[in-house]
């Protein structure tokens, strides 16, 4: 099962497959070039002639590629007809499955990790000793889509309230929130009438995460959108696997209550992929669906008066609420302090460029679903996280 899943998922993405096959073609063509005179288009001075030769080469490559694909398909069909096992499908190379392993990937049997979790700032909320209580505020200038986004955010996060910013400094606001027993402070930063940053401060003693927010789509702009109910949503956190990702995942988890109301069928998803955290809010429903093969079996079974046919469970999703993407810029120790604060992690562009295959810092190979489940490596994703730089 696990192997099949691994193969199927990459196969669904045709572009990487094309790249992979393209490479195969290039390798095969090299010996042919060597035998006759090697004609490289780049060596031809005349522009028209060079263009002509290059186009010809490209057509030959495409024909070769199509030919190989057809042969592979025919081989698979022949195997099926003869009753043999079909040849294994080629797995295209993607950034995810060629990534080098990162040394900070959390392992399921890591005792140090569990000890760190117990000594965490989020421990009180995640062990249900404290009910999460979220204060939402803005920057000084709040206009455009900011207020609408905050309204939808208040519907997504239970037990959250909005207080106008006014002219107070953020440090004063942190003190105010601590006095009122808030567990988190969320600041929505608006720039040119568009929310562009999100600041999440865990109270009473930090840490502070600064995210870049982009591609915000509000509920009214989503076609066939659903309207959320007041049930407490359940949380899905995917791919928060490195130490940094683990920490960010726990911080996000501490915003939501730990006792979701499953009857409401409401799910909030934070999916991390290549260091981008995608936020989605859905209502779902489980349905039964009969397979075609099952229907045939059904006829036989009914005639023989045996048991009922098998049915397949399907999950249908309806999107409601805001849709946006976050990217972590800084993770700071303690509450908000730009001058004297100590940074746990700062995003650096140079690091991202020089090792492209190690881009993802937050993504991990296994799903982070510590809501009610123990840590277990995911069978779907065999991805390994890249390296991460920390300032400690």
């Amino acid at each position: 099962m696990a192997k099949e899943r691994k193969r199927r998922q990459p196969a669904d993405a045709p572009p990487p497959g094309d790249d992979d096959e393209g490479r195969d073609h290039r390798r095969e063509k090299k010996p042919r070039k060597e035998r006759p005179d090697p004609v490289l288009p780049s060596q031809i001075k005349n522009k028209d002639k060079r263009k002509e030769v290059h186009a010809k080469l490209k057509r030959e490559k495409k024909a070769q590629k199509r030919k190989l694909a057809r042969e592979r398909g025919q081989a698979a069909q022949r195997a099926v007809e003869l009753g043999e096992q079909p040849p294994e499908k080629l797995v295209p190379r993607t950034i995810e499955n060629t990534r080098e392993p990162d040394e900070t990937v959390c392992r399921p049997d890591d005792q140090e990790l569990f000890a760190g979790n117990d000594a965490d700032e989020f421990n009180a909320v995640l062990k249900q000793q404290t009910t999460p209580k979220v204060l939402i505020t803005t920057c000084r200038f709040n206009s455009g889509r900011g207020p609408a986004f905050i309204e939808e955010l208040m519907q997504v996060i239970p037990n959250s309230c909005y207080v106008k910013r006014g002219t107070y400094e953020l440090k004063k606001i942190v003190e105010y929130a601590n006095n009122r027993d808030f567990t988190s402070l969320v600041v929505v930063h608006t720039n040119r009438r568009e929310p562009d940053a999100l600041l999440i401060i865990n109270l009473p003693a930090g840490p502070t995460a600064h995210f870049k927010l982009s591609k915000l789509i509000l509920r009214k702009d989503i076609k066939n959108h659903g309207n959320p109910t007041s049930h407490k949503p359940e949380l899905v956190l995917n791919n928060f696997t490195t130490r940094l990702g683990h920490r960010v995942g726990r911080m996000i988890q501490s915003l939501f209550p730990q006792e979701p109301n499953f009857r409401g069928r409401r799910v909030v998803t934070f999916h991390n992929q290549r260091d981008y955290i995608f936020f989605r809010h859905h209502r779902y429903i489980f349905e039964m669906k009969e397979n075609k093969i099952a229907s045939k079996d059904k006829k036989a079974k009914t005639s023989e008066s045996k048991s009922q046919p098998e049915k397949q469970v399907i999950c249908r999703l309806q999107e409601c609420g805001p849709r946006f993407t976050l990217k972590l810029l800084t993770l700071q120790h303690g509450t908000f302090d730009t001058k004297n604060g100590e940074y746990e992690w700062v995003h650096k562009m140079y690091h991202q460029i020089c090792c492209h295959t190690k881009v993802v810092i937050i993504q991990l190979p296994w799903d982070y679903t510590s809501l009610f489940l123990p840590f277990s490596p995911s069978k779907n994703l065999s991805l390994l996280a890249p390296c991460s730089s920390r300032l400690l």
Partner: protein, 290 residues
């Protein structure tokens, strides 16, 4: 005499410090005491002139006299003014005792203004201010491009659906998508009594029953979403009583529920057809469905 000659030369567009804008004619010379281009404020056309300049928050009184006009690098005499406003005023009075009254007045006004804006600068430094940062277009474009590719690689809908299915299998929603245990036990007993089960048949039947339960529960939730829990409990009690009494009225209720959803009509019609065919099997199937 030479002052007048200088003024006549530079008055009409021959001065490089002159700045003409719609609101007036101004002077860019740093030694100008008022910033306005006129005869009395021009530091070039007055051989006897004084002004105040600011160096890193420290004010200096600059004085120019005709006796040093032939020494350009020693033209301006500089006197440091104390930080205190009153003492600075005394220093000005002392050094400009025999100067024209108008000029002294202007210099005192200039001192007042500069003192006030120095105080304001100090206050602003203590306040917290937003930091203006650049957002290069190239960086933004790169960010958006990579985000699009990451979103395609993420396959969000598929991942969410598979995650929810896994939770269903593991039994996270155990209470909601199954009947209460009592009814479940009765169903199991019925199956044992009626049919002699083998291991495989047991497994299959159990799976089927669970599926039906999920469907029924979902329909109930959708229909009675607005009602409180107490009513739901009462409804359940009523159902159990009716089950004991009669079989036929139970068969009618699922029809009513099914009419709400189109996809269910087909499924239930199939079930009804199967019921009509055989008499012996009908009883068994009705009970299992309940």
């Amino acid at each position: 005499m030479s002052d007048d000659v200088i003024w006549h030369c530079i008055r009409h567009n021959h001065c490089s410090f002159m700045a003409k804008i719609t609101t007036g004619i101004f002077c860019r010379n740093p030694y100008n005491a008022t910033g306005i281009c006129n005869r009395s404020s021009c530091p070039l056309a007055n051989s006897r002139y004084a002004t105040i300049r600011d160096h890193d928050g420290i004010f200096y009184l600059y004085m120019k006299t005709a006796e040093r006009a032939h020494l350009p690098n020693k033209l301006w005499e500089r006197v440091k003014l104390p930080r205190n406003y009153e003492k600075a005023m005394e220093v000005i009075n002392k050094h400009l005792e025999f100067w024209p009254k108008l000029l002294v007045h202007k210099i005192k006004q200039r001192l007042t203004k500069m003192t006030q804006y120095r105080i304001r600068m100090r206050k602003l430094q203590l306040k917290v201010r937003e930091k203006v940062m650049t957002m290069p277009r190239k960086e933004t474009q790169r960010h958006l491009r990579r985000m699009d590719k990451a979103e395609k690689a993420a396959q969000l809908e598929k991942n969410i659906e598979s995650e929810l299915k896994e939770r269903l299998k593991k039994g996270v929603y155990g209470d909601i998508y199954n009947y209460p245990f009592k009814e479940f036990d009765t169903i199991l007993e019925m199956e044992k009594d009626d049919v002699a089960p083998t291991e495989e048949e047991e497994e299959e039947e159990v799976e089927y029953v669970e599926g039906d339960d999920e469907m029924d529960d979902m329909e109930d939730i959708e229909d009675f979403g607005g009602l409180p829990d107490d009513d739901e409990d009462d409804d359940n009690d009523g159902e159990t009583d009716e089950d004991d009494l009669l079989d036929e009225p139970v068969a009618k209720k699922p029809k009513g529920r099914g009419s709400d959803l189109r996809s269910n009509i087909g499924k239930k019609s199939k079930k009804l057809i199967t019921e009509v065919e055989r008499d012996d099997d009908m009883g068994i199937r009705r009970r299992t469905r309940m």
